[in-house]
Amino acid sequence: MTDESTIIDVQGLVKRFGHKTVVNGVSLKVKRGEIYGFLGPNGSGKTTTIRMLCGLLRPDGGSGVCLGWDIIRESTQIKFQVGYMAQRFSLYEDLTVKENLDFIANLYGIRSRREAVDRAIERIRLERFSNQLAGTLSGGWKQRLALACCMIHQPKLLLLDEPTAGVDPKARREFWEEVHKLAGEGITSMISTHYMDEAERCHRLAYIAYGNLLTSGTAEQVVAGENLTTWLANGGNIHALQERLQGLPAWDQIVPFGNTLHVSGKDAETLEKSITPFMAAGYRWTRTTTSLEEVFISLMSRAGGD
């Protein structure tokens, strides 16, 4: 029995396609009002996991509850309170924006349908396009329409699969403000993304690779858990520096960012020893906090190793 405040509580979810295990014993716990980031490389099983949570796929193993309902036996009840946004645009391209919203509103049996549709259009600033065919919208606007559709029935849980892919920065910020506002109202969101800045906006994160859940927790916890030391070098020819550093021990990642080189490694002491000779050679070195990106790349390369 889970308490009121746990929205998603699943243990050991498994999904196989043929002989391939795509999700391998994933356990997740998401609390009410939380924004939960779901990250992982392409093909890691994010979409598959989300689809199991909203009842689109039947898990081959594992169990759990979502909004207090059993994800295997009571998926019908879950559907009324979940808003799912698929990674691929899945609305009717040959219906207008308004018709799409109206159709979805009807399926959920919303009482004051017209107001709900108008409210949704207003919230995402789609007024200009309300009578345009959904198929003729630009990619970003399609995403926003899909978002409006999955929120129209005021769900308690949003499962959003890469909702901001292809959306411009301003719209993305508006989207995140909206999600945070909803979180304040107690609406939980689980959002998969490949953007690091979005990962940092989440209350908690989970990182999955090749079907295995590698880490979860707040951004700080995730960064601390990987225990990386990161140095920045600039000034001088950083590409030459990169080549020379690669011959030395203790580095995990050496990545150029514009005029700066990011060098991180697990073994702080040896790393410092490796770079000391270059401190005198005209490069400016600063020790910095490790970012999520470095942590994820480190996680990913380790997961790929075994």
């Binding site: 909203c54 009842g55 689109l56 019908t76 559907k79 009324f80 979940v82 799912y84 698929a86 691929r88 645009f89 899945s90 609305l91 009717y92 391209e93 979805i104 399926l107 959920y108 049996g109 559709c149």
Partner: protein, 323 residues
């Protein structure tokens, strides 16, 4: 600047290779490409018979004479006619013809042998169900040939002088239901079945497949909508479309082609619901089996071909071997 060639064999080959690769991936389509011609071969080669025999025939006679018996046995020997009933009751004979239980009624009048002997050329009446003229034409031709010679054998001795160069009976053929042999009477109502099968099966076979192919199924499945609601919601609009098509054809039949409409329109419309419903259900079944829209259309054709070839529209219903 490099010269852009108008036609490049290499690009063409690339297209061809890609097309073959895709063809190989889509096993169902490939199987259909083999199966459809095979099915057609079997249908045309074995199932369709362009010379229908053993057509059900009733003989209406009160004249139990050797003459009428030889006529009856002669038409049976021709193999075109199959005697299913011998009657004395005129209304019963008409009923069988109307119901389509018999294709012909051979009417041998009461005083047939008496008139024959007197040399009065009695009337021998063959009523044929000519609603589908092609189905009965061979049989009619056969009876025309044999009516005279059959009796000649019996007209011997003192009756011999009735014979030479003289047809002893007056054979009359009544093509019923379509006496003027107007093709439209047969084609236009038949078209209704063809159009309904074609549109109903093909359109619904695309219904679910299209949702799946475009990804809209994904969204639909996460809403509370139930499978039954989806299915009925997909079928009912096409029931309406089916009725519209039907009405259009009936209207055109009456106004443009002046095809007579006998019987109850209400009955026609209510019975058609069964037909429309069944066609839609077949389409919907294909829709759930097919992986993409191309497969769905091919499956529909797989259904449509034998259905139209054996339906009696392209070839008369009787033009089949009975297995």
């Amino acid at each position: 600047m490099t010269l852009v060639r108008i036609f490049s064999a290499r690009r063409l080959v690339a297209m061809i290779i890609k097309e073959f690769r895709q063809m190989r991936r889509d096993r169902v389509t490939f199987a259909m490409m083999i199966c459809i011609p095979l099915m057609q071969l079997i249908l045309f080669g074995f199932a369709i018979n362009s010379d229908p025999k053993n057509l059900p025939t009733a003989v209406l006679t009160a004249d139990n004479s050797p003459f009428s018996r030889s006529i009856i046995s002669a038409i049976q020997n021709s193999l075109y006619f199959k005697l299913v009933k011998q009657l004395t009751n005129e209304t019963e004979a008409q009923r069988l013809l109307t119901l389509g239980q018999v294709q012909f009624v051979l009417n041998i009048p009461v005083d047939f042998s008496r008139k024959l002997i007197r040399g009065e050329k009695p009337v021998l009446l063959l009523q044929a169900d000519a609603s589908d003229p092609a189905a009965v034409s061979n049989a009619v031709a056969a009876i025309r040939l044999l009516a005279g010679p059959v009796l000649e054998r019996d007209l011997k001795g003192i009756l011999g002088d009735l014979r030479p160069g003289f047809t002893p009976v007056d054979l009359r053929i009544h093509p019923m239901y379509n006496p003027e042999n107007i093709t439209q009477y047969n084609i236009v109502p038949g078209l209704m079945g063809v159009v309904l099968t074609m549109t109903m099966v093909i359109i619904t076979s695309l219904a679910v497949t299209r949702e799946r192919e475009r990804g809209t199924m994904e969204n639909l499945l996460t809403t509370p909508v139930r499978p039954l609601e989806v299915m009925l919601g997909k079928l009912i609009p096409y029931v309406v479309v089916g009725y519209l098509q039907m009405s259009l054809i009936i209207l055109a039949a009456r106004v443009l082609f002046r095809v007579p409409l006998e019987g109850s329109l209400v009955l026609l419309y209510s019975a058609s619901l069964l037909f429309i419903g069944a066609s839609l259900a077949v389409g919907l079944t294909f829709s759930t089996l097919a992986k993409n829209q191309l497969q769905a259309v091919q499956m529909s054709f797989f259904f449509f071909l034998p259905s139209i070839l054996l339906s009696g529209f392209m070839f008369p219903f009787q033009f089949r071997y009975s297995f």
